[in-house]
Structure formats: structure tokens, C-alpha cells
Amino acid sequence: MSERKATIASRVGLHARPASIFAAAVGDLTLEVTIALEADPAEDAMDASSILSLMSLGAANGDIVVLRAEGDGADEALESLVKLLETDLDAE
């Protein structure tokens, strides 16, 4: 199990356009990736390819989230997703 932390950089938090971009990026992977707020237990983690899950997570600008994935290429995949979360997606 690979695990990475990321700080949400988008000013509006992880909804609207940033959530669409992130969910689409996870959906393009063959791996299953979960996301949870740092303070939440791992079993509450949600499907990161679901825009509805991302929206219900309610992660705001500056919140820290934990991404988890298992399998071949998990480390690389998480690395690129962390970069995505740490970019202000709403500004682009």
C-alpha cells in the first residue's frame, strides 16, 4: 500500500472544476485510488475517481488529504496526483 499526503492548493477547495480535473485524472489510471482527510481513519477513505465522493469530502484550500493506492506503479501514480492537488487548478 502506497500512501502520500497533499495540501489542497485550489482556492475554492476540492470542488467544482478542480474536482472534475482530479476525478478525471484518477479515472484514467488502472489503479484504484482512495482519498481521505488527514484527520480521518483509513477505513473512511473514499473512491478518488468519484467526483461526488470528492465533493462530499469537502476538502478546503490548505486542508491536507491522504491518497492511497496499491499495485504496480502506485508510487508514480500517487506522485503525479499529489502534484495535481498542489496546483491551483481553478486558476488555469
Binding site: H15, A16, R17, A19, S20, A23, A24, G27, M46, D47, S49, S50, I51, L52, S53, M55, S56, G58
Partner: protein, 561 residues
């Protein structure tokens, strides 16, 4: 040749082909099971295929869209195949529920979850419900709900249009609006006038027209004709010339003998106000503040409000802007003000009355209006909607003065306010007649019901008489306090003449109607308008009132109105 007759609500003559608005998707019955021949595996595969088709269609529309609607459509497209939505539905299918019912229930619980999160998320709940309806339509093999998509402009035929439909209605793709339901003051009529589209409402039977049928629509006469011929084609060409000459208002509302009747605009925000100013409006007679905040779940902050109001004030430097305080309730609910469980919202806590249930909102709004007014050169007046008694008028005027607003007024929409206008005007500095609600309450007929369209006409002599009484009260009060009209009646060039004849001082309307109203008004003297008003008030019924006044205005024929 087949003809349909309804009520003409927005003038114009066009020929085009029909597109029916698809029927809303009905709820699959609770407990609906998979049929014997379908296994859960097959149903699951069908659901996934349907959701993929919906996603592709929404993505296609997102590519064609721009700005905010593009990102909303992109997010909505992702929702269509969202694991959270689909997994919950698949769980239900495995237990034997039909695919349609399963996605319906799954969509409902997701929408509820978003709704409970509040704010931006709650607004997205509607998108989930839209996606759900599209998936059910795809599973059933019927047309998706919403305004039809077409490359060619068309005549939109519907039962009635809801306020939400306006957001997706592209005026460049629509030639005319024709509805089987709705009345002269329904949303369809309001939308059509605002967009300048010919429109006919309450035309029974038009639901049966097939897509692609060529029809002639006359929005002044209120008729729709199948298989138009040469006469109709000539009428369309003639209308095009008239429309070009009617599109300009010179900026001064006056009768033929120079009696000034300022023509003001009804606006919903800064964008409307800028357009209205460019169209020659002499001020704003109605700023519908709730339209600045219709999408909101929580009360806008004072700072946000100041920005919204400033945008309107700055479009009219040195001119009058009448601000109506939040008119929430009935057909315009605002989650932070209205109780959606009321059995009879039209007679419920709406307009000024929300100050009883949500004290503080109105006071903060008045502070915001005063702050915005101080920073601009517009002459700002404020009025409260749904005032029924002189005590309410006095309380509102006192709140305005505390906030530093010097010209408090009230709307006359409730018949009691029309009857008591003399005493109301001892407290308020002006009144403005909201003819849509005044008609609905006088005739006890719901604005949205097509069946009651004839009752729901501002031409009803009883309504005209209440307007006359309101003016008489203002004269009796003795200080020449102004009486305006800001309902749809003011946008009807024929009725506008009657209103001026009844003694109304200003007319406020959708900016597009100013040129037609201005042109007809300029063709009559004040004395002639007063004679026509007398004819209308003494008519037996609304049809007679309208017909007799029309007969007295030869310019209508000339202009094709």
C-alpha cells in the same frame, strides 16, 4: 389547414418548424422489479451503457459551451458514470430492483447528501437529479428532458416553461414560444417578452403537433397555423420591417400632447441594467433583488449585496432606481427565507412577510442598499413587496429611515392595499402597482394555470378599477405622491395607454417593450387615453375591454401589434 388559438403574449410573426419540449421524466414506481427475462447482470450492463451515453452527450455539450456553464457541464458529465452513483444503483439491481428504479433511488440519496452539505454542494444536487432523469430517459429509449437541441432555429412547443428552463434556453435557437398551458402572466410570457420572442400561451391542442411541422405563429393575435401559405409569408415579411422600426426607443415616454410618462426598466441585476440604460430606459422602476441571489442557499453578506446593487445604480447616474426588497416565496423560493412546506405559498409568508419569520434579513438588506446608494449618484427609492396594511407600510418606512433611506414606498399587489392607498400613502412616499399579483389576488386565480388564463388577465375590469382606486387614493392624500406600474401590464402597449389614462405616473417594463409602448403612447393625447381608460373600466369583461380599446387605437394595425 389546422389552426390553434390561444392568448398572444408577445408580438411577432414568424414561420418555422416545431420542436416539442419533451415531457418530464416520470418517477419509476416504487418497488418496480426487474422483469422475468432480465438478469441483474444484464440490467447492470444496460445501466452502465446508458450512463456512458449520457456522459458522452453531456461532454459533447460541454465542448460547445463556454465559461461557467462549460465547467458545470463537465462536472455533470463526470457524475453520469460516477462510481458512488452507479455502485449504489447496482446494489439495488442485484436485489431485483429494476435499473430505472435503482438509479432513481441512488440519485435521490446522492442528491440528499449534497443538499445536506449546503452551499455550493447543495446547488449541485439539481445536477445529480438532471443526470438521473437523463439516464432513466436513455434506459426507456425516450427523449432526454430539457430544451431540445437543434442546429436550426425552431418554434418551441411546451406545456409551460419553468424559471429554470430560461437558463438553458438559447434565444438564437428559438423563433417563438407556444404553450398549451400557462396564462398571460406565466413564466413563459415573461421570458418571451424579455427575449423579444413571439409567444402564444394557453393554446389547447398544440401538444399534438409533431416535430418538424411547419407553422405560422402570430404572437399578437395569439394564433398558430399549420401549413402556412402566401398570405402568412407576406405577413412575416411585413413584420420584419415593423420590428426593425420598433426596435428603437428615443428615451422619452410621452403622450402626443407632451404629458410625460417616464418609461423605466424592470431589471434583475447589473447586466440587465446596463442593457436597459443602452435601450433608453429613463431609470429603473423595479430592481428585483431576489434575482441577484436566486441560486443562493445562504443569505448574501452585506458586502456582496452592496456590490450587486452598485452595479445597477452605476448604470443610471442621476436617474431614479426603485429597489424592491427581497420578494421570496411562492414561485421564487429562497432557501434562507422560505418555508417550502406551506400548503398555500401564494397566501403564505412571502415578500415583506418573511421579516416575521427571518427577522434581520430585511434590516441588513436596507443597510446594504443605503451603503450602495451613498456611493453612487443614482436617486434610490426602496419598496417592500406584499404589503397589505397601513401598519406594515409604516413599519417598513420606519426601517428605511433608520437605515438612512429617504424614499420608502410599497408595492400594491394585495387588493387591500389598493383600497387603502390613501392611508398607506400617509406613511409611504410612493406606491408601485404589481399587476401580476394584483390580478392573481383580485381574481383568485393562480398565475400559472392555463385553464384560468381568461380570469388571470390584467384587462379584467375589476383589476382596472382597483388601479383607478389606487390613483384616487393618491390624489385624495393630497401630496401628489407618485403611482407607478411595474407589472407585465405596463409592457402591453395597449394596456399602457389605459394605465396612463387611469392616472398612473410611470411605467416600468422589460427593456425590450419600451419601444412599442413608447410608439403607441406617442400616438394618443392624455385626454384620449383617459377616454379609453373609461371605456375599459366600464366594459362588461376583459375581452370587451381589450377589444374596445384596441379599436380606439388605429396605430396598432399600422405597427402590427
Amino acid at each position: 389547414m389546422q389552426n390553434f388559438t390561444g392568448v398572444g403574449v408577445s408580438p411577432g410573426r414568424i414561420i418555422g418548424s416545431v420542436r416539442q419540449m419533451p415531457k418530464p421524466i416520470s418517477e419509476p414506481p416504487a418497488g418496480e422489479r426487474l422483469d422475468a427475462a432480465t438478469t441483474p447482470e444484464v440490467a447492470t450492463a444496460e445501466l452502465r451503457t446508458a450512463s456512458k451515453v449520457v456522459q458522452t452527450e453531456l461532454q459533447r455539450r460541454a465542448e460547445a459551451a463556454t465559461g461557467a456553464s462549460k465547467s458545470v457541464l463537465e462536472a455533470t458529465a463526470l457524475m453520469a458514470t460516477d462510481p458512488m452513483l452507479i455502485k449504489a444503483a447496482v446494489k439495488l439491481i442485484v436485489t431485483g430492483t429494476s435499473a430505472e428504479r435503482a438509479i432513481w433511488e441512488s440519485g435521490a440519496s446522492v442528491a440528499e447528501m449534497l443538499h445536506n452539505l449546503g452551499g455550493y454542494m447543495a446547488e449541485r444536487a439539481t445536477d445529480v437529479l438532471d443526470v438521473r432523469a437523463r439516464i432513466v430517459a436513455e434506459l426507456r429509449g425516450v427523449t432526454a428532458p430539457g430544451i431540445p437541441q437543434s442546429d436550426e432555429p425552431f418554434v418551441l412547443v411546451a406545456e409551460d416553461l419553468a424559471p429554470a428552463d430560461t437558463a438553458t434556453l438559447d434565444p438564437n435557437k428559438i423563433l417563438a414560444l407556444v404553450t398549451s398551458g400557462g396564462g398571460p402572466q406565466s413564466h413563459t410570457a415573461i421570458i418571451a417578452r424579455a427575449l423579444g420572442l413571439p409567444a402564444v400561451v394557453a393554446a389547447a391542442g398544440v401538444d399534438a403537433l409533431t416535430d418538424g411541422t411547419e407553422v405560422y405563429v402570430d404572437g399578437a393575435a395569439g394564433t398558430l397555423q399549420v401549413d402556412p401559405g402566401d398570405d402568412e409569408r407576406t405577413a412575416v415579411t411585413a413584420w420584419e420591417h415593423v420590428a426593425a422600426s420598433l426596435s428603437v426607443f428615443d428615451g422619452t415616454g410621452t403622450t402626443a400632447d407632451g404629458h410625460l410618462v417616464p418609461l423605466l426598466a424592470n431589471v434583475g441585476g447589473a447586466a440587465d441594467a446596463v442593457k436597459a440604460a443602452a435601450a433608453g430606459a429613463e431609470g429603473v422602476g423595479l430592481l428585483r433583488t431576489e434575482f441577484c441571489f436566486l441560486e443562493r442557499d445562504i443569505e448574501p453578506t452585506i458586502d456582496e449585496q452592496v456590490v450587486a446593487y452598485r452595479g445597477v445604480f452605476d448604470a443610471f447616474p442621476g436617474k431614479k432606481v426603485v429597489v424592491r426588497t427581497l420578494d421570496a416565496g411562492a414561485d421564487k423560493p429562497l432557501p434562507f427565507l422560505t418555508d417550502s412546506t406551506e400548503p398555500n405559498p401564494s397566501l403564505g409568508v412571502r415578500g415583506y412577510r418573511t421579516d416575521l419569520t427571518s427577522p434581520g434579513v430585511l434590516k441588513r438588506q436596507l443597510t446594504a442598499i443605503a451603503t450602495a446608494a451613498q456611493a453612487s449618484s443614482a436617486v434610490v427609492w426602496v419598496m417592500a413587496p406584499m404589503i397589505a396594511t397601513v401598519d406594515e407600510a409604516a413599519d417598513f418606512a420606519a426601517m428605511c429611515r433608520v437605515a438612512g433611506l429617504k424614499t420608502p414606498g410599497v408595492m400594491v399587489e394585495v387588493p387591500s392595499a389598493a383600497l387603502r392607498s390613501a392611508s398607506i400613502l400617509t406613511e409611504a412616499e410612493f406606491v408601485s402597482l404589481g399587476t401580476n399579483d394584483l390580478t392573481q389576488y383580485t381574481m383568485a386565480a393562480d398565475r400559472q394555470l392555463g385553464t384560468l388564463a381568461a380570469l388571470n388577465s390584467p384587462w379584467q375590469p375589476a383589476v382596472l378599477q382597483l388601479i383607478q382606486l389606487t390613483v384616487a387614493g393618491a390624489i385624495y392624500e393630497g401630496h401628489n405622491k407618485p403611482v407607478g406600474v411595474c407589472g407585465e401590464a405596463a409592457a402591453d402597449p395597449v394596456l399602457a395607454v389605459v394605465l396612463v389614462g387611469l392616472g398612473v405616473n410611470t411605467l416600468s417594463m422589460t427593456a425590450r417593450s419600451m419601444s412599442a409602448v413608447g410608439a403607441v403612447l406617442k400616438s394618443v393625447t392624455l385626454e384620449r387615453a383617459q377616454e379609453l381608460a373609461q371605456i375599459a373600466v366600464s366594459a362588461r369583461n376583459s375581452d370587451e375591454a381589450r377589444t374596445r380599446v384596441r379599436a380606439g387605437l388605429p396605430i396598432l394595425e399600422e405597427l402590427g401589434l
